[in-house]
Amino acid sequence: MNDPHRDAAAATFTADHDGDCDDAALLGKIGQGDEDAMATFYREHGRVVLGQVLLVTGERVLAEEIVQDTMLAVWRGAGSFRGESSVRSWVIAIARRQTRDRLRGHRLRLVDNAYLADQPSSGPGPEVTALDRAELAEVTGAIRELAQSHREVLGLVFGSGLSLPEVAGVLEIPVGTVKSRLTAARTALGRVLTEKGQNR
């Protein structure tokens, strides 16, 4: 067991990601109480999880707390990993549950977003034109204004590097719904860009 008062720098891990690392084996070591394995796991997945949680919550401090809770859940529950999904999607699913618990007070808003998220898009229109004309910085800003469920699906697909079936597993919805939600998110993004363009 480590000395809890040891210099923080001594327990700071900065090495680059090792692409050959076997995440499942890593979880096995974590399950046996291997702190170095936990540090490696955090190094490999922490930033992605933080990015996804921050995208959903929009609050840095809250996001870091959720990541902390997520890693604690990994530390305690590594032995429960059954290998039925990728480790990345498993830890993101944990983070999603932690986020949901923290945001429980916003349940009504979440329901609204969930309803809106899967409405079919109206097809090509001014939203597509707005996207074609948009600059990256405008898109980045517009994503911040999307509904939580739209930000979430965009983050899982483009930020976390999960496949569509993995995203479906994390969100506990069919792949077809992931696709429609993704399309709806892009349409909503175009709508925000259109509104911003009209206000300029």
Partner: protein
């Protein structure tokens, strides 16, 4: 994945796979190289992905400090930097980096360029990577080729300043020049006859100053030794996953590429790189 007719557009799964660097079927990849509709869709998703990455990828990772093995805190922020020293940030485009050098070799869908310091940089490409070739490429103007000619007109003859080979590319459209589209006939080193869709035959003269642009070039068209400018996302191993590549053959003596983007959008980058800067 779309496994239907060979000419069917890419479905959402293919487009997302392409944008996120996952494998797509050869049929889809081949379709993407020639389908403007699908390229536009890929560009739109690329832009969305870029926005997400802007929001998530640049986060400094907090340090994990284990405290007694049972709990931990997240403390001081670190500032990781994954890219190699041969890549430089694109001003104003948070997620993009660039590399410049001469083309040393092509390996499949990757190319290796040698930078001014002599260091090799591997640039990986995908079907959605915009790739242009430009220079005094008069040999690329052959009979039957579809071209856009831009130049000055006198007595019914156009002195070509820019000839764009292949599909229309509106970005190559400097003001003040006459523009005519048609098919090349009677090609020679001195010029050619441009046959418009209406059947009109327009004499075109070319010279060593005529800039020939192939906006949608393939890797196989890039000649060894060409000056390469690539822009894209840096990989953890120092490679560059290219969003766009410009190859310039026969750069004037003492000349150098000076590329600037109006914005970070794919269309803006493509416009800047179509002319090699």
């Amino acid at each position: 994945m779309n496994t239907g007719h060979a000419d069917a557009h890419l479905d959402l799964e293919d487009l997302i796979a392409e944008v996120t660097g996952q494998a797509i079927a050869d049929r889809a990849r081949e379709h993407l190289t020639r389908c403007e509709h699908c390229q536009l869709e890929a560009n739109r998703w690329n832009l969305v992905a870029g926005g997400v990455r802007d929001l998530t990828a640049g986060l400094p990772q907090a340090a994990l400090v284990l405290l007694g093995g049972a709990s931990y805190g997240i403390s001081a922020a670190l500032a990781p930097h994954a890219s190699g020293t041969e890549l430089t940030a694109v001003s104003g485009c948070v997620t993009l980096e660039e590399a410049t050098g001469t083309l040393a070799q092509v390996n499949g869908t990757s190319l290796v360029i040698k930078t001014a310091s002599g260091q090799p940089v591997t640039v990986t490409t995908a079907a959605s990577t915009f790739m242009s070739l430009s220079g005094t490429l008069l040999s690329d103007i052959t009979d039957g080729a579809t071209v856009d000619v831009r130049g000055s007109s006198s007595d019914g003859t156009i002195a070509a300043a820019i000839v764009t080979v292949g599909p229309p590319f509106s970005a190559v459209n400097p003001p003040g020049l006459v523009a005519v589209r048609g098919t090349v006939g009677d090609a020679s080193t001195a010029g050619f006859t441009l046959v418009t869709s209406a059947g009109t035959r327009v004499p075109v003269t070319t010279s060593g100053d005529t800039l020939v642009v192939v906006p949608h070039a393939s890797l196989g068209q890039l000649p060894a030794g060409a000056t390469i400018f690539a822009v894209g996302q840096a990989g953890p191993d120092g490679t560059l996953s290219a969003r766009a590549v410009a190859a310039v053959r026969q750069l004037p003596a003492g000349g150098h590429l000076n590329v600037s983007f109006r914005s970070c959008s794919p269309s803006s980058i493509a416009a800047a790189l179509a002319l090699g800067g």
